[in-house]
């Protein structure tokens, strides 16, 4: 059973993790974030929320007849991987766990597995 700060520490202990952030999806607010130099957490949280919303809208149109429920989203850039995991809680949600991973030093399959373990300890 994890608290919010404990969750952030666990996410940062994933091999290759560079920064991590917890985002409230409804308001686009950065709930907690690791201290990375030069990252504007508030603005990146708001922008990532918009990206997730746009993705949900897009998927709703590409899979007609389905209710879209995103588990996680992966974006790979030339510098690294960005993993977003959506988490349902008893409260309003979803809560989004974001982690930026080093392209060379990280193992994507391991990172996804660790994220899902962490999520199950943060939300029942």
């Amino acid at each position: 059973m994890l608290g919010i700060d404990g969750c952030l520490a666990e996410v940062m202990s994933i091999p290759g993790a560079l920064d991590a952030m917890l985002v409230d999806h409804t308001s686009g607010m950065a709930v907690a974030f690791s201290t990375a130099v030069g990252v504007d957490a508030d603005r990146s949280a708001a922008a990532l929320t918009e990206a997730l919303r746009a993705t949900t809208d897009g998927l709703a149109r590409t899979c007609p007849g389905d209710v879209v429920r995103i588990d996680d989203m992966l974006v790979t850039t030339d510098k690294g991987h960005h993993l977003l995991r959506l988490l349902e809680t008893v409260f309003e949600g979803p809560l989004v766990i974001y982690v930026r991973l080093d392209l060379e030093r990280s193992n994507l399959a391991l990172a996804r597995h660790r994220l899902s373990t962490i999520s199950s300890r943060l939300a029942t």
Partner: protein, 261 residues
């Protein structure tokens, strides 16, 4: 900066501990200058939100409050420390959004008083004020007119197109909208914080899915038959007329005056 912001900033500087009651609008709880909990009459409380999610009944929550507090809630209730923190965090920001702009009430500070759900998350006052401003800007960016926040939510009876995608909260708002409830009333009915409902309603307005707001109706109350309890009360005594051409009245008056003299 509003008056309440200034007062709160002062309490934060003095590292005060206690409860600041803002008239009937709500209460702000501080611990050593940081906000630990906030209640607002307009938004559902964290207890109400947890009960609405089927976690525990409000009566059971009150029992836990009296005996054991948060620790007992975590061992008994099916929620993790993270979820409780997230719930308090969301509830406080929701209350702050509506409570901080309140003016006119005379706030009263009671030192030492604490809320049982306080102590889960600590907010510094400037951060809280900044987040509320960011949320206000976000609402204005979605749809500039604040009218939809306070008017009844009236979805269009027909879709002006072939298809539309709705988010979860938007769906709940559309299902629950009875053309009378305002967004804040809907939030209470749905057991959701008020701000996400405002966001959903503004997005609906921006997509053109809400009927244009009526102008406030002036006078012209609906006509009820006289036996209806809602009918306007009949005047006491015989009907009075001030019509200057009421001849019968003038004749009676003339006769009465003649009799006097």
């Amino acid at each position: 900066m509003t008056k309440l912001d200034t007062l709160l900033a002062g309490l934060a500087r003095e590292r005060s501990t206690g409860a600041l009651q803002v008239g009937r609008s709500g209460t702000i709880f501080l611990s050593e200058g940081r906000v630990t909990y906030m209640e607002c009459a307009q938004t559902p409380s964290v207890e109400r939100l947890l009960a609405a999610r089927g976690l525990m009944s409000e009566a059971a929550l009150r029992r836990v409050q009296g005996d054991g507090g948060c620790e007992k809630l975590l061992t008994e209730g099916a929620l993790t420390p993270g979820e409780l923190q997230y719930a308090v965090l969301g509830g406080v920001l929701d209350a702050a959004f509506f409570l901080l702009p309140v003016s006119g009430a005379r706030p009263k500070f009671r030192p030492g008083e604490q809320h049982w759900l306080g102590g889960q998350w600590f907010f510094d006052v400037p951060g809280l004020v900044r987040e509320c401003a960011r949320r206000r800007a976000q609402l204005a960016e979605i749809w500039p007119s604040a009218d939809v926040d306070s008017l009844p939510v009236r979805p269009l009876p027909r879709l002006p197109g072939h298809g539309v995608t709705l988010s979860r909260v938007q769906w709940e708002v559309i299902v629950r909208a009875d053309h009378k409830a305002t967004p804040l009333e809907l939030a209470k009915q749905l057991g959701r914080p008020a701000y996400p409902v405002l966001v959903a309603v503004r997005r609906l307005a921006a997509s053109g899915l809400l009927a244009a707001p009526d102008l406030p109706q002036r006078g012209a109350p609906a006509e009820h038959p006289p036996h209806d309890p809602k009918a306007r009360a009949q005047p006491l005594g015989p009907p009075v007329t001030g019509d200057p051409t009421d001849l019968a009245l003038l004749m009676r008056l003339k006769k009465a005056l003649e009799e006097l003299s």
